[in-house]
């Protein structure tokens, strides 16, 4: 257990080593936030109150998604998949801690760094230009918990994809498919409340909604205390389930892996 906080800290330091690159990404996130916000405003102008959001909710949602792209890594990818492809994973498997725990610690460090460097600019820019909704103290506390759970679900999904490289030897195809799912079903492209009927219900029940849609709803203070608790339980349930799958798949991969030495 003792080594994992250090892995997390070094992950954080590695990802804060080039702050300029992260700030550059934040600029792009902000620009996309503006474009998407105008599109959503045009829709809410035609249909006020759609999905239970008002225009300020929709704009806040839009900038939240842009702020979370980096921290929950919507576009996917993990260094682990490269290490599986070129065999460095053999070193990881020799470590005295589990593969999943090691990479989870590293990824939480990365997420904290991304939140610090890429989370603020889109939110601030959005709040300056558009009608914006900041959470109250209770909602802020719930959002902090929800955010950590979103990191866990995001990691667990990407970890499963990365382990796919043990069988496919090349993770790029699988990871592109995963990107499609997470872009669309997290609420990145459009808030899930806009999805019509049963399609929207299914989308809301999938694990990807725990990445953006659920934390955003917690931020916007939708629903009373019980609803917030249910939302957090939903995220925690998916996190536990996916991490358990990750543990099982890691055991299968250990049996599968043959490292060719040289």
């Amino acid at each position: 257990m003792g080594v994992l906080p250090w892995v997390c800290l070094y992950g954080y330091r590695r990802h804060t080593a080039y702050p300029l690159a992260s700030v550059a990404e934040a600029v792009t996130n902000t620009v996309f936030g503006f474009i998407r916000a105008y599109v959503l405003l045009a829709l809410w102008d035609a249909r006020p109150g759609l999905g239970g959001y008002d225009a300020a909710d929709a704009v806040t949602f839009c900038f939240l998604t842009q702020a979370l792209i980096g921290p929950v890594q919507i576009f996917g990818g993990m260094e682990l998949s490269r290490r599986i492809r070129d065999g460095d994973v053999a070193i990881d498997l020799h470590r005295p801690v589990g593969l999943q725990a090691w990479w989870l610690a590293d990824d939480l460090g990365r997420a904290a760094a991304a939140l610090l460097l890429r989370g603020g600019p889109p939110l601030l820019a959005g709040a300056l230009v558009f009608p914006f909704r900041w959470p109250g103290p209770a909602a802020s506390a719930a959002f902090a918990v929800s955010l950590v759970l979103a990191f866990l679900v995001g990691f667990a999904l990407r970890y499963l994809v990365a382990l796919g490289a043990f069988w496919l030897h090349d993770d790029r195809g699988l990871s592109t498919v995963a990107t499609v799912m997470s872009l669309f079903f997290s609420g990145m492209i459009l808030p899930l409340v806009v999805f019509p009927g049963a399609f929207g219900d299914v989308a809301a029940a999938l694990p990807w909604s725990a990445l953006v849609q659920v934390p955003a709803d917690v931020w916007l203070g939708r629903g009373a205390g019980a609803d917030v608790a249910a939302a957090l339980a939903f995220q925690a349930g998916w996190a536990a389930l996916l991490l358990a799958c990750g543990a099982l798949l890691t055991r299968a991969a250990r049996r599968k892996l043959v490292v060719h030495g040289g």
Partner: protein, 261 residues
Amino acid sequence: MYALLAWTWVRAAAQYPVSLGLMVVATAAITGLDALAIVLLFAHAESIAGFRAEEVLFLYGTSALSFALSDCVLGTADRLGEHVRNGTLDAMLVRPVSPLVQVATEEFTPRRVGKLVPAALVLAFALPRLEADWTPGRAAMIPLMVAAGTAIFAGLWVMVGAAQFFLVESHGATKAITYGGAFLTQYPPTMFARDLVRGATFVVPLAFVNWQPALYVLDRPDPLGLPDAARFASPAVALAVCAAAALAWRAGLRRYRSTGS
């Protein structure tokens, strides 16, 4: 030479057939998601910002097709910064092929072609549904605007690549111009604030990718009140952008002094 290098990368990717297949399908899907978003938007409202679904899908089709074509040919040019940082650009410079061609063909996989499919399909879907008065001039404008749009995006790819000679870390921010531009041009500028539209017309000439020609095809007045000649200016703008990109690339390459240690 470009074709030879591209073919080499395709063969490399084909070593992992499952992955390659998934990648092509998923890349097509990612491009298609934007069209799906437009369909979902218009499931809630007949008309948004004065435009109907087929008109916005027409804008999406022309923008996405231009962008996908340019991305196919030159999309990896904006990875130049990585080569500068890793020092692999030096190896490219001693080879007898233009470094631009080498960077652009890098990892040329059929996945890039995957982007073309949804764009072409949506355009084919939207065109017959437009309520346009199809004169020969309007019909000829469609391929012309796609070609000019492709050239404008191609110029932008090279320019953002060239910017990385000067500022290695700029890659993250210039995505706002390339990908952001592709996204912006999928929607009618009437949705956006006026200053944003002015910026997208005069600073980065994105309005000439599809908006100005589309005004001609749809026979609509220009909200910015530009003269009618602007509707036919796309090829000239494309030439100017490409010329500026070529100058920027040469200037960057001349300035390049390799990295230390």
